[in-house]
Structures are given as structure tokens and as C-alpha cells.
């Protein structure tokens, strides 16, 4: 093989990998494109304003209404409540693992916590349905155990490992000398954690929190099986709700293709896509900043 032909071959190979390398961005574009293609036609039937702010979701009525405010409220409620549980739990666990735990304990427990991340979400939803729901119903004497609170517990259970794992990395990577410096000045371990280590790793912890929340927004099976499925704006944390992913999953199986209802569900998918996209952008931005902080301290 001559030198030139093997150089040509290299160029060819480079070209092939360039195309393969673009596959991720191509898929992302296709997803966005098809959400738009299949979602936008609904706005011939209903205005954007009535779609996003409409309180009535009656997609199969003879005179249908496509207002997704109750679904957005359901999503927001579930995500807020699960964040309230998962953020402290996740961050505290991360601090414990990175700062307090014996290295051997850490080596055992960290993989166990990360194991939760790999659990099939449908099984978590199933557990919420058959175990947690009856328990809550008895315990608080509720109208139904399938509600926002239950779904939030299950979502928190899922989001904690994401938050713990990423924040632990951030806390663990705080330079040793900062910690030692603080301790040498007479601060207790706890004071060092609170005043030195957490502020130094705050960007990493925020990234973790944002990614955890993003995961909770998009999670489908848990809210589908556990949240209760009522398309109402919740008045209490024990009300049943119908978050956006649950609504798509519950109804897409039954709609005639290319009907208004079908397009409406794609439009909800578009809303969901935009929400998670924004959260991911925020997370990337935070982790970029985190890198800069790390470099500045070194």
C-alpha cells in the first residue's frame, strides 16, 4: 500500500467517524423536529395561551378542551415536593460519604446508593402502588393512597442517588489543603464542612440538584402508576394528580393516530422536552462554572 493511499484511507475513516459522531446531534434534532411536526398542528385547534393556561383537559369530549394547566401543576407539584425530600437527603448522604464515612464504609455504601439509579422505574412504581399506597391510605386516613405525596416519595427515592453521586464527587474533590487549613485554625470538622467544604463545592452540588430535578420532571412510570391520574390542580399534597409524562403515557396508547388528541399529546411532549432541556442547560452552565472555580483554587 502506497503512502498516499493510506493517507486517503485515513481521510475516509475520518469522514466516516465524523458522520457517526454526529449521530447524537442528529437524533436530538430528529426528536425535536418530530415533536414540532406532530405537536404544532394542535395549535390550529387551540391557541398556545389556551393550551398552556387552560384548566380543562377533556381531550375526548365531543367538544374537546385541551388545557394542560392541571397537568403542568401536577408535574410542578410532584417535582417540588420530591425535591424537598430528595435534596436534603441526597446532599446529606453525599456529605456523609465524602467527609465522615470511613473509606471502607464509603467503598461499600456508595455503590449501593448508586445501585438505586439502575433499578427499573416500573418496579419502583409497582412498589408505590402495592405497598406504599395502602400504607398511606391507612396511616393518614386518606381518600386515596395514590396521590402527589406518594409519587413524590417514589420520585425522591429515584432522584437521591443522582444527587448523592454527583455531589459526593464535588465534595470529595475539594482540595485537601483547604480542609486542613481550616482545621489547623481550630475549626471543628463540622465547622469546616459548613464554612469551607460546602461553599467550595456548591457549584457541583447545584449541578447535582438540577440534574436530579430534571430526572424527576421527565420520569414517567412512577407518576403514571402512583400519582393517581386526576387531571386537577392540586389543593393538598394528598390530592391525586396527573403529571405531564403520566398523561402522555396513559393516553398515547389509546388515541387514533394523527387526531387532534394525538397532536395535543405531542405538544405536551414538546413542553416537557423544553423544560428538561432548560434544566440540562442550567446544569451544564453550573458544571462549567464549577470547573472554573476548581481551577482558580488550585
Amino acid at each position: 500500500m502506497s503512502f498516499i493511499s493510506s493517507q486517503k484511507k485515513d481521510l475516509f475513516v475520518h469522514g466516516v467517524f465524523l458522520i457517526v459522531g454526529a449521530s447524537g446531534i442528529i437524533i436530538l434534532t430528529l426528536i425535536f423536529l418530530f415533536l414540532i411536526l406532530e405537536g404544532l398542528p394542535i395549535f390550529d385547534v387551540v391557541s398556545v395561551r389556551d393550551f398552556v393556561l387552560g384548566k380543562e383537559w377533556y381531550p375526548t369530549d365531543i367538544n374537546p378542551d385541551y388545557g394542560i394547566l392541571p397537568l403542568i401543576a401536577g408535574s410542578a407539584g410532584v417535582v417540588a415536593l420530591s425535591s424537598a425530600m430528595a435534596i436534603p437527603l441526597g446532599v446529606f448522604s453525599a456529605i456523609y460519604l465524602a467527609e465522615i464515612a470511613h473509606p471502607k464504609t464509603r467503598a461499600v455504601i456508595k455503590p449501593i446508593v448508586e445501585l438505586i439509579e439502575g433499578l427499573p422505574t416500573v418496579v419502583i412504581g409497582f412498589f408505590g402502588m402495592v405497598v406504599v399506597a395502602p400504607l398511606l391510605q391507612e396511616l393518614f386516613d386518606l381518600g386515596t393512597g395514590l396521590n402527589m405525596f406518594n409519587a413524590s416519595i417514589m420520585l425522591a427515592f429515584m432522584a437521591v442517588p443522582t444527587i448523592t453521586s454527583i455531589s459526593e464527587d464535588a465534595i470529595y474533590s475539594v482540595p485537601r489543603h483547604m480542609k486542613e487549613g481550616s482545621m489547623a485554625l481550630g475549626a471543628t470538622h463540622w465547622e469546616t464542612i459548613a464554612r469551607v467544604i460546602i461553599p467550595a463545592s456548591l457549584a457541583g452540588i447545584s449541578t447535582a440538584v438540577v440534574l436530579g430535578i430534571a430526572r424527576a420532571i421527565g420520569e414517567t412510570m412512577v407518576v403514571l402508576m402512583v400519582a393517581g391520574g386526576a387531571a386537577m390542580v392540586p389543593e393538598s399534597i394528598f390530592d391525586p394528580v396527573r403529571p405531564m409524562p403520566a398523561n402522555i403515557a396513559a393516553e398515547m396508547g389509546n388515541v387514533p393516530f394523527r387526531s387532534d388528541h394525538y397532536h395535543a399529546l405531542f405538544a405536551i411532549g414538546l413542553v416537557l422536552f423544553v423544560f428538561t432541556f432548560l434544566f440540562n442547560l442550567l446544569a451544564s452552565y453550573l458544571s462549567e462554572r464549577h470547573k472554573q472555580v476548581g481551577a482558580a483554587t488550585l
Binding site: T60, G143, L146, G229, A231, R242
Partner: protein, 271 residues
């Protein structure tokens, strides 16, 4: 166990030798989850009588079944409601000529937990419970508790029939929890003292209490006689007058000898 192994071996042999002539065939049935238990039971019996024959049955709801028939992606649509004018129009435009067959009758009955003291509701009270005007059991003679309202998914034929015959055009309250099947409603109501739901007659168990509607106890007799006010027919819809395997299956499911299968599936046979 042994028989199953023999059967599996037989099936595997069937695969390796290619499909057995004349016996093999496949039918796709798509549509209502209400009709699904019947078609599934009958399909299992049909497969036993016709070894090598296969079914693919999906329960996407009545609307999906009819759409699939119009698209030509299913052989038979199973529906728990009558085909809409708009659907017939669309079918004809696509060169599809839908032919409906009644395979069973069914009543939709309101059910509550056995501990619930309420035994009877009028159609008017049911309407008010489901449109959200009545929110407390004490308003209909029960304890002072909020009513947990349970409904079928808005795409199901059962929901449509309930909407027509009980809600009479009113909208269902958004508080209603939408569940995906009759079985799910059974499960939810039997575990919840404050709940009310509605199910097909065949799903009634002793862990539930059926409520009289306007004084009529829903039974297969009152369903067949038409006395019970909330009842309907279950349909199979084919493209054109059926022939071949489709015809064989329709004949099979409508045959008086197989009426017990309809009952097993939970409905009132047409014979």
C-alpha cells in the same frame, strides 16, 4: 407440565418445519379493553381447536381499534361502543366498509366498598357525583366523608357510554381518578372504603358491592331484558363481510356452544 413440554416441542417442530398447511393462520384484533377478556378467552379456545393458529390481541381502546381497522393494520376491531359517523366516513374514504357484529351484552354498574352503607343511587345522584356537584357521601345517605371518584380513562368505550347514559352530556369532575381498566377499578374500590367506581357487569366480585340504579339491581337478567338503564352491546367490526379466518372466528365467537366462553369473559351472551 409434561403436556406443556410436548406442546412446546410440537410448536418448535412446527416452526422448524414451517407453518402447518391449512391450519396455520394469524388474526390481529385491536381495540377495547372491555371486550379484550372475551376475545382473549375465545382466542385461547380457538387456538386449542386449531393448533398452529395464532392471535395478536391488543387493547388500545375502542377508538384505536377502529382507527387500526381503517388503516388496515388490524383484521378485527373490538369495540364497546357504536362506531361514530365520522369514523364511518373516514373508513369509506379509505375504501374500508365496516361491518359490526354483536358478540355480547354488558351493563355498566356503579360499585362501592362492601362497608359502604349506600345501597341505592338514582341516575340523577350518580350524575351529580360524577359531575362534581355531590362531593360527600352524607349527601346520598352515607357517612360524612369525601367521595373518592374513580373513572375509566377518557378514551375507553366504557367512559363514553357512562358519559352518555349517566352524565348526559355533563363533564366529569377533574377530581376523578382515571384508571386504565375494569380490573384496576375493581382493585381500587375494593381497597378503598370511600370510593365509587363503575365497571362492566362481569367484573363484579364479592369484595365489591353493586349499587342499585333507580331501584333496579344490575344482573344478567335485567341486562338482557333492558330494565337496567346503563347497558350496551359489545362489538366486533370487520372490513367488509368477513371471509376465511375472520369469518371462522366470528362464527366461533357467536356460536351458542361457545356462550359459556362469553360468560367466562364476564359478559351476557347473545343467546
Amino acid at each position: 407440565m409434561k403436556r406443556i413440554l410436548v406442546m412446546i416441542a410440537f410448536l418448535l417442530m412446527g416452526f422448524s418445519l414451517g407453518p402447518l398447511p391449512a391450519m396455520a393462520g394469524e388474526l390481529k384484533i385491536n381495540g377495547s379493553t372491555t371486550v379484550l377478556p372475551v376475545t382473549q378467552v375465545v382466542a385461547e379456545a380457538f387456538m386449542k381447536d386449531n393448533p398452529g393458529f395464532n392471535f395478536s390481541i391488543s387493547g388500545g381502546g375502542s377508538g384505536r381499534g377502529i382507527t387500526a381497522l381503517i388503516d388496515g393494520t388490524t383484521d378485527i376491531a373490538q369495540t364497546s361502543r357504536w362506531i361514530r359517523d365520522s369514523e364511518v366516513k373516514m373508513a369509506v374514504e379509505n375504501g374500508i366498509y365496516p361491518v359490526p357484529f354483536v358478540i355480547a351484552f354488558d351493563s355498566i354498574i356503579p360499585v362501592v366498598h362492601p362497608d359502604n352503607p349506600v345501597d341505592e343511587l338514582s341516575l340523577e345522584e350518580l350524575r351529580k357525583i360524577y359531575n362534581g356537584e355531590i362531593t360527600n357521601w352524607s349527601e346520598v345517605g352515607g357517612p360524612d366523608r369525601r367521595i373518592t371518584i374513580i373513572s375509566r380513562d377518557s378514551d375507553s368505550g366504557t367512559y363514553v357510554v357512562w358519559g352518555d347514559k349517566v352524565l348526559k352530556g355533563d363533564r366529569m369532575t377533574p377530581r376523578a381518578q382515571m384508571l386504565a381498566s375494569n380490573g384496576a377499578i375493581v382493585q381500587a374500590v375494593q381497597d378503598n372504603r370511600h370510593a365509587i367506581g363503575y365497571i362492566g357487569l362481569g367484573y363484579l366480585t364479592d369484595r365489591l358491592k353493586s349499587v342499585k340504579v333507580d331501584g333496579v339491581q344490575p344482573t344478567s337478567t335485567t341486562t338482557a331484558s333492558g330494565e337496567y338503564p346503563v347497558s350496551r352491546s359489545l362489538w366486533l367490526i370487520t372490513n367488509n363481510w368477513p371471509s376465511g379466518d375472520v369469518l371462522r372466528f366470528i362464527n366461533y365467537i357467536q356460536h351458542p356452544d361457545n356462550a359459556h366462553l362469553i360468560e367466562e369473559g364476564g359478559y351476557v351472551p347473545i343467546w
